[in-house]
């Protein structure tokens, strides 16, 4: 990107002061309003919640290896998959990319010194952690057995710790609203001079679309879950059928948020992928405006498809058909993105670094997840497939294969920027491949067993022991997957201490964060004010194709060590 540093350069290479070593006290971290430190604290928090959610996942997979179940009773199994769903959705997937990478990168990418509202940012971190611990407390004090969807009337009559858990989710929801408000203020008003909308990195566009979805959708689910708490705690009866209330209304309101929430999870991932693909293909992104506007149209259309979760919930047939049609239309902007990424690679100088491997894995898995979504968007196939493992496989392909792979790709891409150290490229590529293989091994069999009729949320299947084969494959795959997730945790932590120092721009990438900040950035991000004069993605494949030759040798050397 062409931009000029205005004024005299005063870089002093001898004394690299940065946001990490600016201050060492614990208080300076816990009360920091620096968006980079908050991003790092979020990184630790979401990793913690992911770890707990994964343990629940492992328990589910272990339980299902036998048709009669081995480990858990029905009640405990219900609580386990609820815990897995609640933690992974509300405490991990919804927040992970915006809170970690978005917080860290948005101000740097647009040339600002910090978020628009730094104190609000810190508040939302603590609300997130408070909400998370309330949710964990509800698990410890007896668990929650209504699943992450909390459908009434089960959630209003269940005698588990649902109220506490819902209060936690409510607080987490407001945390993400505050983050979104912050993003909107930052993206609208904090851009450096010359950083016009069409010069913004696509990462910013996706996060903007995400923030819009959050502020429009999250309050609706917050109030809906609040009503469940009121119904449980005071005996109010807004969804109670005996008073004439409508339990399906709960599902409407819940999915009014929770379907867009899927886009809250995947849109930031799209942004990461756009950055990685164009960097490692050394090509400007193909059809910048199409990709940017497809984010916004996904955000918009995403609000009009919630009914496809309710084809079998006594929703009217007419509305079911309409929702089905809109769901099909929604596939178009998603496909636009995938095609644009593919075309970005055409005639590019593609280099298979770790982030690129993750991004390519993302594209493959997202395509499978997206296409199987079409089976579920069509009313008649959905009647057969809904409530089976087909759905479980579908949304894991989109959420794990989509969001988590993109997140890991983004973490690997920006790790040198965040901590100023490079990790071992060999282990990075290995982990990307292990995760890809483990993921497919885990969830592809679930498509098949789901098609055969295995219902989701069952903890045994003694009525069809032949399904054990698929479950064994799946459990084996999840072991590989878990190992794959463990690897980055290990070598990235290792790299913090022993990694080679990364220069300001180890990937030779474009963008303010690479070209105008040090690694790690200083607290104020930029030493001098920035004036942006050209588009972000001015990669040139012909010029850049040679630069990897040197790089490649270094990697081979590294691997031989």
């Amino acid at each position: 990107m062409s931009a000029t540093v205005v004024g005299q350069s005063s870089a002093k290479p001898s004394e690299p002061k940065n946001y990490l070593n600016a201050d060492h006290t614990l208080k300076s971290w816990l009360l920091s309003v620096d968006h980079k430190r908050i991003g790092v604290m979020y990184l630790i928090a979401v990793t913690f919640f992911f770890f707990i959610g994964s343990i629940a996942a492992a328990m589910i997979r272990y339980e299902l290896t036998s048709p009669k179940g081995i480990l858990l009773s029905s009640e405990v199994y219900n609580k386990t998959f609820s815990a897995h769903g609640i933690l992974m959705v509300f405490q991990f997937l919804v927040v992970v990319v915006p809170a970690v990478l978005g917080n860290f990168l948005i101000p740097i990418m647009i040339g600002a010194r910090d978020m628009a509202y730094p104190r609000l940012n810190l508040l939302s971190l603590y609300m997130f952690i408070t909400g998370g611990f309330l949710i964990l407390a509800s698990f410890v004090l007896g668990g929650v057995d209504a699943g992450w969807t909390f459908y009434v009337p089960l959630s209003t009559i269940s005698e588990t710790q649902i109220s506490l858990c819902l209060v936690g989710i409510f607080i987490t929801g407001f945390s993400s609203i505050f983050t979104a408000v912050n993003f909107i203020g930052t993206i609208h008003k904090m851009r450096a001079p010359g950083m016009t909308w069409y010069r913004l990195p696509l990462f910013i566009w996706s996060h903007y679309a995400t923030a819009i979805v959050v502020i429009l959708g999250t309050p609706v689910v917050a109030i809906t879950l609040f009503l469940v708490v009121v119904e449980r705690g005071f005996g109010f009866g807004i969804f109670s059928p005996e008073l004439g209330g409508d339990p399906v209304l709960f599902q409407h309101l819940f999915w009014f948020y929770s379907h867009p929430a899927v886009y809250i999870m995947i849109l930031p991932a799209f942004g990461i992928i756009s950055e990685i693909i164009s960097c490692f293909s050394r090509r400007p992104i193909f059809g910048y405006r199409f990709v940017a506007y497809s984010s916004l149209s996904i955000a918009f259309l995403g609000f009009l498809v919630w009914g496809h979760h309710m084809f079998l919930s006594s929703q009217s047939v007419l509305q079911g058909i309409i929702f089905s049609l809109i769901s099909f239309i929604l596939a178009v902007p998603s496909a636009v993105k995938v095609f644009n990424w593919t075309l970005t690679m055409v005639k590019g100088s593609v280099h298979f670094s770790t982030p690129m491997l993750y991004a390519l894995g993302f594209m493959g898995l997202f395509v499978i997840g997206g296409l199987t979504g079409l089976y579920l968007a069509s009313v008649d196939t959905d009647v057969h497939l809904t409530g089976t493992y087909f759905i479980v496989a579908h949304f894991h392909y989109v959420m794990v294969g989509g969001t988590i792979l993109a997140y890991l790709g983004g973490i690997h891409f920006w790790w040198p920027k965040m901590f100023g150290r490079t990790y071992s490229e060999f282990w990075g590529r290995l982990s990307a491949m292990i995760i890809f293989i483990g993921f497919n091994l885990t969830f592809f069999p679930q498509f098949m067993v789901g098609y055969l009729g295995m219902p989701r949320r069952y903890h045994y299947y003694y009525f069809a022991p032949e399904w054990q084969f698929y479950h064994l494959l799946s459990t084996a795959g999840s072991t590989v997957l878990g190992f794959g997730f463990l690897l980055p945790a290990l070598y990235l932590t290792y790299s913090l201490f022993k990694g080679k120092k990364a220069g300001p721009n180890p990937w030779n990438a474009k963008g303010l964060e690479w070209e105008y900040t040090s690694s790690p950035p200083i607290t104020e991000n930029f030493t001098q004010p920035i004036l942006v004069t050209d588009s972000v993605y001015d990669y040139n494949p012909a010029e850049d194709s040679k630069m990897y030759e040197v790089d490649e040798e270094a990697t081979v050397e590294d691997m031989n060590k």
């Binding site: 205005v6 001079p193 409407h252 009009l304």
Partner: protein, 137 residues
């Protein structure tokens, strides 16, 4: 850290809050709001046209119409949207427009009595349980 070059590029182009809502306007709007409130209550109990008083749709529309007008006055003048930047206008309008997307849900309840397929409740033979379900093996 504090450079002011080129910054007008994006802060310019919108009116800033230097526009102060005149005291006279504030009083006028307040008067309108009170009048709207009185009108609502008067209409609800003492509307001199008994036919209309019995007409639920009309009465509800009237009450809501006055409420919308009051809301319009509050948003436009008291909340300063009229003098605000374009961005503020977009957010103000967008928020209230999006509120109506929620009402797509009503379409479900309105269309439930409509049944597009005649005789759908008869179970087609293809949907009957297969033998394999009754006798596994």
């Amino acid at each position: 850290m504090a450079a002011d070059h080129g910054h007008h590029e994006y802060t310019a182009g919108g009116a800033h809050a230097h526009h102060i809502l005149p005291q006279k306007t504030i009083f006028t709007i307040f008067g309108f709001l009170l009048a709207g409130m009185v009108l609502t209550i008067w209409a609800a109990f003492y509307l001199p046209i008994p036919n209309l008083l019995e007409n639920t749709f009309f009465m509800q529309s009237l009450a809501l119409g006055i409420a919308v007008f009051k809301a319009y006055l509050v948003v436009t003048y008291f909340m300063g949207v009229k003098m605000g930047t374009r961005l503020v206008k977009i957010f103000a309008i967008g928020g209230f427009v999006w509120f109506f997307v929620l009402f797509v849900m009503m379409a479900d309840y309105v269309s439930r009595p409509m049944e597009p397929v005649v005789g759908w409740e008869k179970v087609p033979s293809s949907a009957l349980p297969r033998d394999t379900v009754k006798n596994p093996e």
